[in-house]
Each structure stands twice: as structure tokens, then as C-alpha cells.
Symmetry: C2
Subunit: 120 residues, 2 copies
DNA sequence: GTTTGACTTCGAGTGCGCTCTAAGGCGCAA
DNA sequence: TTGCGCCTTAGAGCGCACTCGAAGTCAAAC
């Protein structure tokens, strides 16, 4: 029924090493095991991994992700706390995008400059 | 005339340690020295540092920046190579922005979800 | 004249996020 | 029954980009 760590790795884009590491540090809570002690990942596990990957790719530090994961484990009464945490993070993501957008413009100008020099 | 490492640090946003480090690894070429051997940064040095900071903040690895700095030192005959290098990098930056934009949307939905739960 | 403080060099240390290694278990195929 | 392949664990190692420490120089302040 569940999937092996290799399948979870393929679907999540995280290495098997990383999946075990995430579990060890508490980002993922005790994945199910099958008869021979092998991990068995469920669809909800995968969705959670995908969300974690979003947090990571937006630059959230692992420690903050652990904090969020801990809140999630505590259930619905932490909804408001989680929301605030994400709102703060969202601001950082917006700032990142606007920084990158500015940087991109500088790159554009530099490339234009080189093009102008080459065509003269 | 030039500015001290502290002034350069303040203006560039990089620590004095980092400025020396960048020089050591060849990102900045032999900054001028005053009578007592202290570094003396010029305006062109600062502009270069600002550009380097753009490359860094867009995620270019130090090694690639060194390569670019080396090409720059070789003069105008490397314009085309530098342009191509920046064009490749620009694509990565665009990809980053689009990734972040997608991530931001996921965050928005999650926050909306929490808001909905709280208001029920 | 000595103390302060900003600078110098070089090499070592740090923090982060993995990433890998070693040693071992289990189930199946030849 | 021996090998293969995938899994397990705990802990060590790595790559990157700094960041810091130690030891020393020098100019100005007291």
C-alpha cells in the first residue's frame, strides 16, 4: 500500500538520505513501517513533503521548519500561530522576489552593454 | 582619497572580513594601498563590489564569480564570453523568480486556509 | 612613552544542509 | 547457500561562504 523510500524519493525529489534525515530531525513524524521494518510512505506524507519543499525552496531555515512541523503535530489549536508564522515568511519571500527582480534588471543592462560593445 | 576598509564595508554592505576574503580569492583585484599599507577603496571598486553583490544575491557560486572576475581582468576581448556567462545566469535567475512566485502562491493558499479555519 | 584602535596577514573555525560510510538485516534467485 | 539488492541505524564527513582569532604594525591621543 504505502510506497518505499525510493518511490518517495522519486516523487518528492528528495534523496532517500534526505528523507531519513528529515525524519530524524523531526520534520516528518515517524513514517509507517512495513513487516520488515522498512519505511512505507503514504500520500499525506508526500503532500507534507511537497509543502516542506516549498518552505525550503523559499529559503526557510530547517530550524524554522521544525518549529512549524512541531506546531502542526499539536493540531488545529495552533492554526493561528502557524498562519502568523507563514505570513512572516511570505513577507520574506516577497522581499526575495523583489530583490531578484531588481538584480535581474541589472543583469539585463549589463548584457545590453556587452551587446552594444560587440556591435560597434 | 580612497576610502578605508570600514567605509567600503559600510557602503557595500559586506564585512571587512568579507572584503579581504574577496580580494584573497581574486574576486577583487589588488586594491590600492596607502602609505601605511592599508587598503584604499575607490569608487570603481565600490561599483564592482555592488555588481558582485548582485551576482551573489542571485545565487551565483563564488567559483563562477571568480571566473567572471578573471575574464573582466582580461579586458574587452572577453566581452562576448562575459555576456554569454551572464545570459546563462539570467536564465537561472528567471527560473528562481518563477519558482518563488509559485511557492508564494502555495503560501497564500495555506494562509487562506488557516484564515478560513479560524473564522468558522 | 605608552596606550588605543584601526589596520595587516594567514590559517583555523563555524554553521548550514545535507551526504555518505560502515556494519548489519531481510527476502528472493540461481 | 551464497550472493544480490534494498533496506536499516548511528555517526562521520563534506562543500560552501564566510567568519573569526592570533599575532603583529603603525599613527595619533593622552
Amino acid at each position: 500500500m504505502g510506497m518505499t523510500i525510493q518511490e518517495a524519493s522519486r516523487k518528492s525529489g528528495l534523496s532517500a538520505h534526505t528523507l531519513r534525515y528529515y525524519e530524524r530531525i523531526g520534520l516528518i513524524h515517524a513514517v509507517d513501517r512495513n513487516m520488515n521494518g522498512h519505511r512505507s510512505y503514504t500520500e499525506p506524507d508526500l503532500s507534507w513533503l511537497d509543502f516542506l519543499t516549498r518552505l525550503r525552496s523559499t529559503g526557510m531555515p530547517i530550524a524554522d521548519m521544525c518549529r512549524y512541523a512541531e506546531l502542526r503535530r499539536q493540531g488545529p489549536e495552533t492554526f493561528a500561530t502557524r498562519r502568523r508564522l507563514l505570513e512572516v515568511h511570505r513577507e520574506r519571500v516577497r522581499a526575495q522576489i523583489s530583490q531578484l527582480t531588481g538584480d535581474l534588471e541589472v543583469l539585463d543592462h549589463k548584457i545590453d552593454f556587452y551587446n552594444a560593445q560587440e556591435n560597434e
